[in-house]
Symmetry: C2
Subunit: 337 residues, 2 copies
DNA sequence: CTGAAAGCGCTTACAG
DNA sequence: CTGAAAGCGCTTACAG
């Protein structure tokens, strides 16, 4: 590409009347610079349109300035929210965001991760479910002292950044919502058991039932795996096991969609004959007809904060606060009456 | 992160008994190295586990080694296929793949693109629909002499890499499929008119009808915008305008899903009462119930080839072959009888 | 065609 | 706390 006369750290130093060391410090958020000088340098840099050269920083500092999200999850809506949150935080701080999909055919997570870590020498990693609970992966990362963040882990790690919602409480509140609308014959469609979130959401479901003093026999658990197909199957199962159920809580929106489609095929109207609520507030939930009432978690913000805290950790070379809980909300639409 | 003793170009040069210049040439696919020496160097590098330091290359060569996909398209399945294809090609060649989502609230494409180009100094860009037909964006890229590739452009550019399928022919062939199954009352649900692909698929639809000598009045066009909601609306429209239609070709799978859901809600069975085919072979098509017969295009491969050719262009500093057509296939499932 | 050296734009010990 | 200098690992003119 065409190279216009590129500003260097020296140009800024001269223009601000300081040494390049000071400029370097300012751009690395290092201590020992008076606020006044910091503002001066930043002002000059902004006026001149200076941006530090990433390659030079990488080479000199032996850092990669790469934050990587390692994942194996077919939910592209979820993944793209994470990527977008990461990308925002990275771009604010002069880092690169990389999303690495694990190709299952390539062998084990562990081997793929190892290859990856050796290759890119990332400065920080973000893990999302189900990898955020993969002890072998976490062990490899810790062995290399790479700062990392866990999004929605089943088990929080003291030595990592943990960003999460209260899954149980979320499951509880959306079940409370079903109950408040008058439903007392309920079903829960689970996700994959390997995702801690599914188990926790289920715990919330049962808690709501207990608190509302609904007899346990009036509630049923249907096994799913987060896929739309498992939502179809769950509905079939429901018709066999508990056809009297009127309120369903699916552990994610895709299964809610599957359940609704299956219900329609069987001549049931949603929400008149059957109320269905989902989880995630995915584009799906908005797009479906009827649009799906769903519990929303701020995935984009969670990824953004994870990345910010990760970058702070990289700079400070020490982990600060390690737990960050986000709140959720129920987005009310038409699938539950 | 922990730094193990890092191999440099000098270590490889010594081990192979050549100068660092030769090693550098080998890793840049530069000419003037005998095949024998090339193999020797690559062999030594592989044995020792050497990888060139990207930052050093960037700094010395003034290249960024970044290939960027600039997009504004809500279809995350499509986007993730593109990203994955790019990422594979980049990782094979020591480049970075970056996906940049245009935040619509930030103002015009053009401004966002400018900010972006200045900021990252990318070595190559990939544009996908609808941006692959945005003349203002293309003008800015050409002004800066940045190599770029267009995925599925409406108008091919001689000065760019064009990777595409024959959209019209694809639309023709899936319509032929509907006709061959005995349907002679047909509907086409269009996508956004700003996407050339939708117009071309429609042209194929009408061609098939003409060739099959089906009276034009037996076919109808319903306006959609690629969203699931527009599929719902299209079905409603269809019931008003042409309730006798039995075969529907939706310009993408999301609209096919919407149409099917709407049909189910209205007590119609798919495919018994209504056959529906889609386009893209998205995860949606596979997951729906009934699973959707759809025209598949190899998006991942298209992105992979675009990126490979882009990197070749960057290295050679000249554009080679500029047009690459991919073939498509119909994936037959249950939504069309 | 090949070799020795300068240089890319930063960061980081190391003296002062 | 600050300044001058070395150095990160490559590529690229520039002499030979």
């Amino acid at each position: 590409m065409t190279t216009k006369p590129k500003l260097t750290i020296e140009d800024i130093a001269k223009a601000a009347g300081v040494t390049i060391k000071t400029v370097s410090r300012v751009f690395n958020n290092a201590p020992n610079v008076r606020q006044q000088k910091r503002d001066l340098v930043l002002g000059v840099a902004r006026d001149l349109g200076y941006r530090p050269n990433i390659s030079a920083r990488q080479l000199a500092s032996k850092r990669s300035f790469v934050i990587s999200h390692f994942h194996d999850n077919p939910n592209t809506d979820y993944l793209s929210e994470i990527y977008e949150g990461m990308r925002r935080a990275c771009s604010e701080q002069g880092f690169y965001a990389v999303a690495e999909k694990l190709a299952p055919q390539k062998g084990s997570y562990r081997q793929a991760l190892l290859d990856y870590l050796v290759r890119f020498e990332v400065d920080g990693m973000i893990l999302s479910p189900p990898i955020s609970d993969d002890v072998a992966v976490i062990r490899e990362i810790e062995k290399r002292n790479i700062p990392y963040a866990l999004i929605s882990p089943g088990k929080k790690k003291k030595s990592a950044i943990n960003v999460f919602i209260d899954e149980k409480n979320a499951g509880r509140s959306i079940t409370d919502y079903l109950i408040a609308r008058g439903h007392d014959q309920l079903a829960f469609i689970s996700g994959l058991d390997s995702h801690a979130a599914s188990r926790q959401r289920e715990a919330g479901f049962w808690e709501a039932i207990e608190v509302a003093q609904i007899p346990k026999k009036n509630a049923v658990r249907l096994a799913g795996d987060f896929s739309m197909q498992s939502g179809f199957a769950a509905f079939d199962n429901l018709m066999k096991k508990a056809p009297h159920v009127t309120g369903i809580f699916a552990a994610n929106d895709e299964m809610a969609v599957g359940t609704i489609v299956a219900a329609l095929r069987n001549g049931k109207k949603v929400p008149q004959d059957l109320s269905v609520v989902g989880f995630d507030d995915s584009p799906f939930a908005r797009a479906m007809w009827p649009a799906i009432t769903s519990l929303a978690q701020p995935v984009n913000e969670m990824a953004h904060l994870s990345t910010q805290k990760l970058i702070e950790w990289v700079h400070a070379e020490a982990l600060g606060q390690s737990r960050f809980e986000f709140s959720t909300e129920i987005i009310i639409r038409e699938s539950c009456s």
